[in-house]
Symmetry: D2
Subunit: 337 residues, 4 copies
């Protein structure tokens, strides 16, 4: 951490900051410039109370030297994290494709979709049983009934299942039926949930909040990792910007940058990332070209009847074409689908 | 709802949309323009599945005619909502001042602050016992111990207490000690929590998410109102933008616009809205000048020692000056503090 | 400037950075922490080529210590800049009100509006002759004819005139008719224009770009000041965010923060800042309560016939009420209108 | 255009809107719903003064049915625009690679870079002679001297040249030396410049403003096209968001969406789009995978000495690797480099 003193800071104010730094068990390293004195703090700055330092008399600002995440960082764990989930190897050479409907709507709908995505090349089945919805007047999911249908689809097709968990107390129930616990974008900073998923030890798919920085995403992952659960996948699903022609702006930069900052696998969700089905295939190819370790794609047999997200869901035939396109791109960069 | 057909939409595609609209129990009103056919849907559009319609063949886009919130709207409830909470009248002529530390850190800290803010003119005491923090390595609050200190401060000073509740299962505990349940910005779309606070019947202070539109804030309020709990206050606390000189951008436009759209009281939080103590008084005055019904201000006896938010907390003397300034502005627009 | 080296930076890489810093005429101050070595650069960092340093081998990032603006800063000029323009004193105790139509549409329209705003208390007349419009199919202004009408209105009413100049070659023409040259939001980083306005010596009203940071605004002012022209007013007019209920988000934080960072007068434009006439008065009061030195308000005798910006223009009677409200708020904080 | 009346709008207010619509030469189509009356306006809505309509008594809002651009749209010109520029075919099956330094710094620098990028596979040379810089204290380009060096590099290598033009009066000079006139992001809404480039008839590369929506980009193109100049390329170069780990957020969604909305070629600039050289290759591959017709890449023989943009410039060897990677991706989707 660097503390920048105000231009008129007094000798006493500088001395007080130094004393405070030393009291906290750090070394202070003073450097007097022409216009400002700066104080370097030597030692692990992550637990430092930056706000309090910044509020001391004579201080203009503080600047962190290190990234605030540790367990998620390449400094701590230089190699890629690769782990198997029910026979699917995540984070390795293979690009994983997770697909299925936004919501589980009925037994037949999820079974039909599961078979369709499996045939097209998907390796994991997605589907929501508990649905967070902006409006209290919208469909809120089938709940446990939906989970049972997912489990049945898994049994029939052999595809592992990823589904969202919305609250700590739901974890035991959801984990009974699902292989991967999804933490939704709106819950990315639901810290009680993060901790509980961490303790559960189940593999987690952590979606980036729609207005969360990459740093905040990695700090959210840190909450899970800090509980001793190493099987965390990060998911870029678009951020909120001023652009209105698309629902979200897929942050393609995040793919290579996250791969550089962290050892965790990075999944891309081009369905939410664009919000429009016509754009999904192009952005799926882009994400893989940029280095994504997997895709999460919404597929529905009849999107015009879907109870949620119809506008961004692909029909099975188009999804099959997406997989073929993505496969060629993956091969072009030395990976496979 | 308006459905805009694509320029080349066929007669059959148009007929299908009309049929679908009628099957859903609405009337369709067709209007053929030079370049596009548009279909107006007549009836309450709020429960309509817009996504599914937009996904039908030949449809270019859909446009809602009505705002999606109902119970929160002035259409439904034209008069201002005014309600008393432990003797404090919220939403009326008086501008309410809620103040206190970000976190309850110790018994003496909260008692000292409570007396100081009361003396300066505050009418409600704030303080966090459960703290959502970006980093797992930061102070996370005193928990129930903090609640007990808050209750003691209330008993001594007579100030009602507002404090954050982070999960549905915490509500019974928090409600034992607090007069107003605060729903934090990161939980604005934690729908399980919104529903539970709605069912609890306790007064709620709902903070706008830093990534939330005004519409989403009002839809979140709708979740609480729909459970039969009318005592909801909205709180503007700054949104995330590209500007980096301040932590958040206080959305002053939201104050008069929310007052126009909804009957619910609107509170301003200039501490989070700016993230810098030097700006808090100016933005507090601005919020009141723009029509806010109350303020939520962070005050700490020694901000340079605060365990959280020190950089945006005021010392008691400066807070007293803030109240004096705000009082003069309130009087200039015909209100009082 | 601080240079942070990568965790694995070699002794040779560190030595090279030091050599480079010294070659550029600065002193290097090295500090070895547990995880990173950092190098402080001592000397005026503003002309430093930060990008090139950041690209050297072994460098992780660079962090500026100083704000990049100089002539605009309080460090350089601690007192408020106060200057008279045709008898109107800008930047002092009085809050200046500039008002008039978005576009000059006809001789009678501008004369009628000029008299109306003068009567209501305005001290400067605004009106656009050259109009930047998003669409090539929209009204683009009357050009020089509009300037002549403005000059006539000035002669009749005695109000000084502010109007936009869009290109360097227009300056001589516009300066013939106008007292203050307005640089529009879309031209805030038209550096040729900034330089030319600087050289012209005419007073300038510099509007913040709709996605410009405060730092960029101050750097734009620096371009004008660096040409020896000290009469620059900054204008906050709203920034672009994700919110869609308003056209822009008025950045109220910018008012007190700019007053703290710079000696230049700060003007608020609540018409563009909100984009909706119903919100203009509330945000005008807020801006004055927060410390603005002046207001820029769009007024039109018949907004429903205005060729541009009708939706955010006030009718004269409502503008007169705005002035009365703003006057009371100004008095409440020890200023006057 | 749809006009939505307020819930309490009177019969007279509705009649007035209808009268106004008819006076303007349009047909009005009224539809009375349960909560609102809406009025459809039939006819070409692009020249309509929406603001004025929205300001009429009883009107709640207006909603456009059509996109506001015409010449740039697929409705007007369904086929892809493909055009040759000095032997290079833009917009066809081949993905064009434009590369070179941010600024022309010296004769030897530009010659060395030109040969390097040609050898690696570039088909157009980029380089700035006039540089818009945020700070008046930064290098501002060599001006005409730079243009002469560019022309020399073109003569030697045979590569056509793209370079930025910053003001209408520079066009004759720049067009003497350059094959493509670049309009920079900060000038995307410099309408005088757009018109002048349109009139010049020279091919244009129009960069999206960092604060501009896709609609605004297409409207800016419309300014050029409306002057009868059809050779316009659009360039996505990243937008400004809240994310701070990257300078800009490359909007990958814009690539397929622009290709759907417009017939104009779409170029991607991954250098500005990321602001970090380590991310450039990944995002270049992504852009091509998503359908970009070309790339604009910053290359410098010694980025650590570059006078501008060193941090996002590639060394020649890395650029050659980028081209190889991009070529494989292009082939995977049926195109070539």
């Amino acid at each position: 951490m660097i503390v920048v003193m105000k231009s008129g800071a007094s000798a006493e104010e500088i001395a007080q900051v130094i004393r405070r730094v030393e009291e906290m068990g750090y070394q202070a390293h003073v450097s007097r410039g022409e216009e400002r004195t700066i104080i370097g703090i030597i030692g692990d700055e992550r637990p430092l109370n930056r706000d309090a330092l910044e509020r001391m008399d004579g201080v203009e600002k503080t600047m962190p030297v290190l990234r605030p995440f540790k367990l998620a960082s390449r400094d701590f764990h230089p190699e890629d994290s690769v782990f198997p989930i029910n026979g699917v190897r995540i984070g390795g050479r293979q690009v994983i494709i997770m697909a299925g409907p936004c919501s589980v709507e009925s037994r037949s709908q999820i079974l039909e979709t599961a078979w369709a995505v499996k045939e097209a090349g998907a390796t994991v089945l997605r589907g929501g049983a508990f649905k967070p919805r902006t409006s209290p007047y919208s469909f809120q999911g089938l709940g446990e009934e939906g989970l049972r249908y997912l489990a049945e689809a898994r049994e029939e097709t052999g595809l592992p299942v990823v589904t969202e968990v919305m609250a700590p107390e739901q974890i035991p129930l959801v984990a009974q039926y699902a292989d991967i616990l999804q933490i939704g974008a709106r819950n990315m900073q639901n810290f009680a949930l993060l901790r509980a998923v961490g303790k559960s030890g189940h593999p987690a798919l952590l979606k980036r909040g729609l207005m969360a920085t990459m740093e905040e995403l990695l700090m959210a992952a840190e909450y899970i990792l800090a509980q001793g659960n190493p099987r965390v996948m990060l998911c870029e699903r678009g951020i909120r910007t001023f652009e209105t022609y698309t629902r979200n702006t897929f942050d393609i930069n995040a793919i290579p940058l996250l791969k550089q900052l962290t050892h965790l696998p990075v999944i891309a969700d081009p369905s939410h990332g664009t919000g429009r089905w016509e754009l999904v295939s192009a952005v799926a190819r882009a994400a893989v070209a940029a280095g994504a370790d997997g895709l999460l794609v919404e597929v529905h047999p009849r999107p015009e009847e879907a109870l949620s997200d119809g506008v961004q869901s692909l029909k099975p035939a188009r999804f099959a074409a997406l997989v073929r396109g993505v496969r060629r791109v993956a091969e072009a960069i030395g990976r496979e689908v």
